[in-house]
């Protein structure tokens, strides 16, 4: 006796009986229903592997039965039985998630073949899903493992530097303290790099962007500017934002978009001299909402623009003082990709750089 349960939903008693007999002889457990509502009820109770559904029945239409069952019973294989052997209705059903169709009249051989194929397909589908789940689980585990194993030694070294200052701070000369300070700073840089690298790895996962919501980009921009205000003030740079009152909403993940904005503003502030300006404006049309972030910095040579979003790419000759992890713009690009958006840089030497972020509406 096979374990597979098969459900036949058809208002035609001869079809129900015929299918029942043929499939029982093959060893399947068969349930039948004469109309849609009864079929849905039975499906919920017995949770079949496969269901044959007549498209044309009195009561609930067959395609609606198909929809409900495919939502209720994961992994079920659905085959539509179509009386008016029209290819159009069959194609419509396939679009709605049916795996195959059987045009009436059909032979027991045809029924057996479709059943075997459908169940095989189901087996492969379940296997593929399990493999994918396993892979996702391993990836997540790996990321967590790496983050812990790589952070631990760094954390410990930093703690020793702190201990050094606590224990011997007063007796150390300024030159030695300076060395300790510089070491701490470089270790912090390495730690930031690991954090950024982990952020970027996480973007690849399926769980990323699951919590998409309808967002007002202008309020996220205001928050980003607020977050960067002190830093910009310290660097002597003014920030202005010219916004439309009713910017259309976009779908996305608020936290990561905020980090993209903060990143771009932070970058602009690094490469803009004192008394400089960062001016931000938004615009939209029927399809996109865009943010443009411009600075009055030294600009980026044109031949570098295409590589800005590559990991660890550094434009030579720029200030070393604010050297970052080399992953900030890569992070931004990945986030924009995940939102099906675009990020581009344009620049004029000596005048400044503009980063444009475009989100689909």
């Amino acid at each position: 006796m096979k374990e597979e349960i098969i459900l036949i939903i058809d208002d035609d008693a001869s079809i129900r009986d015929g299918c029942n007999q043929t499939l029982k002889r093959e060893g399947y457990t068969v349930f039948t229903a004469a109309q849609g509502a009864q079929g849905i009820k039975t499906a919920r109770e017995v949770r079949p592997c496969m269901a044959f559904i007549d498209l044309k029945m009195p009561g609930i239409p067959g395609d609606e039965v198909l929809n409900i069952i495919s939502e209720d019973i994961p992994d079920i294989v659905l085959v539509v039985i179509t009386g008016y052997a029209s290819i159009i209705s069959a194609v419509e059903s396939m679009k709605k998630g049916a795996y195959d169709y059987l045009p009436k009249p059909f032979t027991p051989d045809q029924l057996r073949a479709v059943t075997r194929r459908g169940l095989e397909h189901r087996g492969l589908r379940i296997q593929a899903r399990k493999l994918k789940e396993e892979r996702d689980r391993m990836e997540r585990g790996f990321i967590t493992f790496v983050s812990h194993e790589m952070r631990s030694p760094l954390v410990t070294v930093q703690q020793y530097m702190e201990a050094l200052k606590a224990v011997a701070g007063d007796s150390l000369g300024d030159d030695v303290l300076d060395i300790a300070q510089r070491s701490s700073k470089r270790i912090q840089g390495l730690q930031d790099m690991i954090e950024h690298w982990l952020d970027i790895s996480r973007i690849g996962g399926d769980s990323f962007l699951k919590d998409r919501a309808s967002l007002d980009l202008s309020s996220i921009m205001h928050n980003s500017i607020e977050e960067m205000r002190l830093l910009c003030e310290k660097r002597g740079i003014s920030v202005t934002y010219d916004t439309h009152d009713s910017l259309p909403a976009v779908m996305g993940d608020e936290a990561s978009i905020l980090r993209v904005f903060v990143n771009i503003i932070g970058n602009a502030s690094k490469y803009t001299p004192r008394e400089g300006r960062i001016s931000i404006r938004d615009e939209y049309d029927d399809y996109y909402v865009s943010m443009h972030i411009s600075d009055t910095g030294s600009g980026i040579p044109e031949d570098h623009l295409a590589f800005l979003f590559e990991p660890f790419y550094q434009v030579k000759g720029r200030q070393q003082e604010y050297r970052g992890s080399g992953l900030g713009l890569t992070f931004c690009k990945r986030i924009m990709d995940a939102h099906k958006g675009r990020i581009e840089a344009s620049s004029e030497q000596g005048k400044g750089t503009t980063f444009s972020l475009r989100f689909p509406r």
Binding site: S147, V155, E162, A166, V167
Partner: protein, 127 residues
């Protein structure tokens, strides 16, 4: 005046050593435990005034287990506790899936922690 006793629980020996140096420079008597079990035993034996425990040790939740056991024991119910973690504690425990019914700690801090902050917080909790 007798020195206040602090028990440090962490599976990283170097982290213990470094943190011990900082706490000693602040005038505390420091006891070390390299795992949760030894930490719980020492907590009972020496009756510390403050316990600092790492969240992830041998297992991800070893720190939580230690805190739970301390909080349900008669002697450990009221001892001030600091939870330390190298994973981001954006608001206590948030980026880590905390087990059901996580017991309260007095402070959750990120590793590494500056000597200045560590001594400030321990001073506050022991005041």
């Amino acid at each position: 005046m007798e020195k206040k006793k602090i028990l440090l629980i962490d599976d990283d020996r170097d982290f213990l050593a470094a943190t011990q140096l900082i706490l000693k420079s602040g005038g505390y008597e420091v006891f070390l435990a390299e795992n949760g079990k030894s930490g719980l035993e020492q907590a009972k034996a020496i009756a510390p005034d403050l316990i600092i425990v790492d969240m992830m040790m041998e297992t991800w939740s070893e720190g939580f287990d230690v805190v739970s056991k301390l909080r349900t024991s008669e002697s450990g119910k009221k001892i001030p506790l600091i939870m330390l973690s190298a994973v981001d504690l954006n608001g206590p425990y948030s980026s880590f899936e905390a087990p059901e019914g996580v017991p309260s700690v007095d402070l959750a801090l990120n590793k590494p922690i500056s000597a200045e902050d560590l001594l400030k917080y321990t001073g506050q909790l022991l005041a």
